[in-house]
């Protein structure tokens, strides 16, 4: 199995606080990997560095073995790397349809096409159908419940037909029924062959979903492996209980 | 039906505009109806202080002249509108005055910046445009037939009074070196340039030459730079407050040139001493076109009426007020001579001869530039005295300037 994403020695600090400390791991192609750690352990910062939202202080990031010198979110999306955010970021002023249309990659010439072309419309309707959002298609996204915004954000992320999806705590602040729906979508996504890296701070969800789990604590990688093994790792127990 | 609502809104706006239009076009022209004079003044905004002093001049003329029976036996009515110191509004105002209110005459606004575009509008409709202040060279270069600057001398002559005086001195008494410093202003820069040309030709050495911006000026370093050049004479193209600041900076820097000339500001008998301190005014030169004690036609009456109407004393009368009053005075004379309100004839008359006024006899060249000269004044014994030309002098000039106290 080749590594789709490799992170080597990535460090990021804010002022004096080291948020990510020489972090090294890799995500195998086609895998569903979990990234776990207590609050403030640098998971989101690491995501931001990988997806180009923050410049790293040192270290390198490789995609398909290719070194990415200066990660840029736009470029990465077009390379098939998509992500979600901790607090579902959607465009509340736009309709659901427009939210999805926006995420369909557009070439230069398509800039002047009307916002939602006929071909796009089919894909959008399909996505809305899958996520059960069809009845709200022409409502403004701001009218959605939080769980629905999560679904919409997830759906949006998939419009670019990504190969690697980074999900930042997709189940945070969502009711149990919605958690189940989201878990099913993640599983289905994985089954279509997409590589998934999932940030979570709740172990049980990762246990149910992931093949491999990576554990961060205070910015540093402390364990890596199948969920069952990681769960018994003393360092992990320390990080979770010792604090 | 959103679309129709919107359309109705537009129709509504047009309807309002239309009704306003129709209501205004009912002006009567009976023989005893008043003579309406339209003026746009900067009553708010950047130029509002000068705008208001001009307004006083216009209103004073109106009440004085109406008491005498008005113009051609008709009462004078002023229609003064505000342009908020904006040229767009000034242009609109003159358009409104001429084409909507169909005023009989228009008088000029304050500030060159509004004069040029406004004069063009008046020219388009054939109205005479007597202007109280600030005919910048570029306005004159437009060669407008209808434009008249109601001052004794062209704006660039402010400095020429000073050059005539200095060059009238015997060569060995003249200053040897000169520093030029000027505000970045439409007519001060070219006025200083005229002085420079004259002094350079006379062999006076130019040791410093600079221009400073209109805002946020820290005078101390500027004066330090001038002092470092050690000139005998400083020619300062100042406007008003900047001359006060410059004097104060000179005192602070202990820099005392032998000859110190300010184009404006120092001639302001009300504000100059209070702002720079009475002890610091001695020996400073400036130029002016009008002063309260001047023996010119109607001047005594003007000063008396001013004090009666607005209070205070003669030294507080602004030159702006006198200039505005002059316009009324001259135009009244011209209209009485023509015998009708006919702008074409008024323009022709103004061009054809000298007209008496509180600022002396006025006449203009083809571009509306006055052909007279200004008076050179100096602070002597705490009083502003006319020192040149000798025919008008009230006191002999005192040079070199005494040191700061």
């Amino acid at each position: 199995m080749t590594a789709m994403l490799e992170v080597r020695g990535v460090t990021k600090s804010f002022g004096g606080v080291v948020a990510v400390d020489h972090c090294t791991f890799s995500v195998a192609a086609g895998s569903l990997t979990g990234l776990i750690g207590p609050n403030g352990s640098g998971k989101t910062t690491l995501f931001n560095v990988i997806t180009g939202y923050l410049p790293s202080d040192s270290g390198e990031i490789r995609l398909d073995g290719r070194l990415i010198r200066k990660p840029d979110p736009t470029w990465l999306y077009r390379q098939g790397v998509a992500r979600t955010f901790q607090n579902a970021r959607i465009f509340p002023e736009l309709t659901l349809r427009e939210n999805l249309a926006l995420a369909i990659p557009a070439g230069w010439r398509m800039l002047l096409n009307i916002a939602i072309s006929r071909a796009d419309r089919e894909r959008i309707d399909e996505a809305l159908e899958i996520f059960g959002l069809s009845p709200l298609a022409d409502h403004r996204a701001g009218e959605l419940s939080y769980g629905q915004s999560r679904l919409l954000e997830f759906a949006t992320t998939l419009m670019g037909r990504p190969r690697l999806v980074l999900l930042d705590e997709p189940t945070a602040g969502v009711n149990p029924i919605m958690i189940e729906i989201l878990e099913n979508h993640i599983r289905r996504l994985h089954e279509t062959g997409v590589t998934v890296l999932l940030v979570e701070h709740r172990l049980e969800i990762l246990m149910r979903l992931c093949e491999t789990v990576i554990v961060l604590d205070q910015g540093a990688l402390i364990a890596e492996g199948p969920p069952e093994r990681v769960r018994r790792d003393p360092k992990v127990l320390d990080a979770y209980l010792g604090a | 039906m959103r679309s129709h609502r919107f359309a109705w809104a537009i129709i509504g706006i047009l309807a309002v505009a239309g009704s306003a239009c129709s209501s205004s076009s009912t002006s009567t022209t009976g023989s005893k109806s008043p003579v309406v004079v339209g003026i746009s003044l900067s009553l708010t905004g950047d130029f509002s202080d000068s705008g208001k002093t001009e307004q006083q001049g216009y209103q004073l003329w109106q009440s004085v002249q109406n008491a005498k029976g008005g113009m051609l036996g008709r009462q004078i009515q002023l229609k003064i509108v505000d342009d908020a110191s904006s040229p767009d509004t000034a242009v609109s105002n003159y358009q409104n005055l001429i084409t909507r209110d169909k005023v009989d005459l228009v008088f000029g606004p304050f500030s060159t910046l509004l004069t040029a575009p406004s004069a063009l509008v008046a020219a388009r409709y054939g109205y005479a445009f007597p202007d109280p202040a600030d005919g910048a060279p570029k306005t004159l270069n437009e060669h407008l037939q209808n434009f008249f600057l109601m001052q004794p001398a062209g704006p660039l002559d402010t400095g020429l009074t000073w050059t005539r005086y200095i060059l009238s001195l015997p060569a060995d008494q003249r200053p040897k070196s000169v520093a030029y410093i000027s505000l970045d202003d439409p007519f001060l820069v070219p006025a200083v340039a005229l002085d420079r040309t004259a002094f350079t030709a006379a062999g006076i050495k130019n040791v410093y030459d600079n221009i400073y911006p209109t805002e946020n000026v820290q005078m101390t370093p500027l004066v330090a730079a001038i002092a470092a050049a050690q000139p005998d004479m400083v020619v300062a193209g100042t406007m008003e407050a900047d001359s006060f600041d410059m004097v104060k900076a000179m005192v602070t820097e202990k820099f005392n040139p032998k000859y110190l000339f300010f184009m404006n500001g120092a001639s302001d008998s009300a504000n100059f001493p209070t702002n720079v301190g009475k002890q610091n005014i001695e020996g400073i030169f400036s130029a002016l076109g009008w002063y309260p004690e001047e023996k010119t036609p109607g001047n005594a009456e003007f000063v008396a009426e001013y004090i009666k109407k607005y209070g205070g004393d003669a030294s507080q009368i602004s030159a702006d007020t006198a200039e505005a009053y002059t316009i009324g005075q001259v135009i009244t004379e011209v209209v009485e001579k023509v015998g009708a309100i006919d702008n074409a004839k008024i323009i022709q008359q103004l061009h054809s001869s000298y007209w008496p006024s509180i600022q002396g006899s006025l006449a203009w060249d083809a571009d509306g530039k006055p052909v007279g000269t200004l008076l050179l004044v100096e602070w002597i014994g705490g009083k502003l005295e006319v020192v040149y030309p000798a025919t008008d002098a009230t006191h002999a000039p005192v040079v070199p300037k005494p040191n700061w106290p």
Binding site: E98, N113, A115, M159 | F6, L43, V81, S92, N93, L113
Partner: protein
Amino acid sequence: MSRATKAGAIRAILVFALLLALPFVFTDHWIVNIAFFGLMFAVLAVAWNLIGGYAGYIWLGSIAFFGLGAYALAITFQHVPLTSGYLPFFALIPIGIAIGIVSIPLALLLLRVRAATFAVVSLAVLFVAEIFAFNLDGLTGGPQGLGMALPPFVVTTFERPFYLAMLVLLAAVMFCSWYLAKSKFGLMLFAIKGDEDRARGLGVRTTTVKVIAFALCCGFTGMAGGLWAYYITWIYPQFAMDPNTMFAIILMTYLGGKGTLWGPVLGAFLLAPAKEYFAYTLGGSAFYLIAYAALFLLVMFFLPRGVVPTVADFLARHRRRAAVLASGPRPAGEQVA
């Protein structure tokens, strides 16, 4: 053509037909003059709306490009005798394009920052432009101003050509604004306003999109500036690049409804004539600035979204209620849990 588009087209044709008829119906100079300034502010507000309303960037330097356009036309025609009074109108087209192109490098520099930083830096652009206009007096005449060749139009209909040219410019910028709002490009601008970082994460080339909107805004603003210069015939730095005009444009856009198609136009038609009219009739009221500030605050607090969206929402609610009443009680099945 969908119903909505059709209604929009009818509305646009109606409004422009009325505006086209105006100078022929009301021939008084002063009406056409005020209408000209109304149109000018409409062009400026619609152009500003492209970057300020659609993309949500508080761009405080656009009036610098108004001045740039004014100087460009005035310098071009300063010494050229006008064989035809219409020549400068046509010269506006290359000037507008050139200004749009010139603005691109500046956009690349400015758009590195966002939100309040962008606002501050864009205000700095305005101040810098003004300083250059004042100080490069060989080119701009400095504080003495710059006059341009007098328009050789007959006095009776003097304002009409300017009015019609400004109307054409308004039609052009409105078409541009409408087309962009309908296009993928507009969608991207709205997304940038909503959440620029998220948009980047969805493959939107935010920089390119912003720069294009910026260049369009500057180009149209410059053309309006050129036309203004030709009309007023005399330009000074402090009036060609006046911060107060800048904020007036923003106020108009907010009043009408920022980010909407007709909002800026409505705001301009309400405020621009009102300003001239009140200055003329109330003349001399020192409360002018205070009243202006109060109006500004009222709009910000009580009509933050502007007239057009507020009225549209009200009508939509009204219509929905009417529909509900007409069809009797209905299960609330529209909303999905």
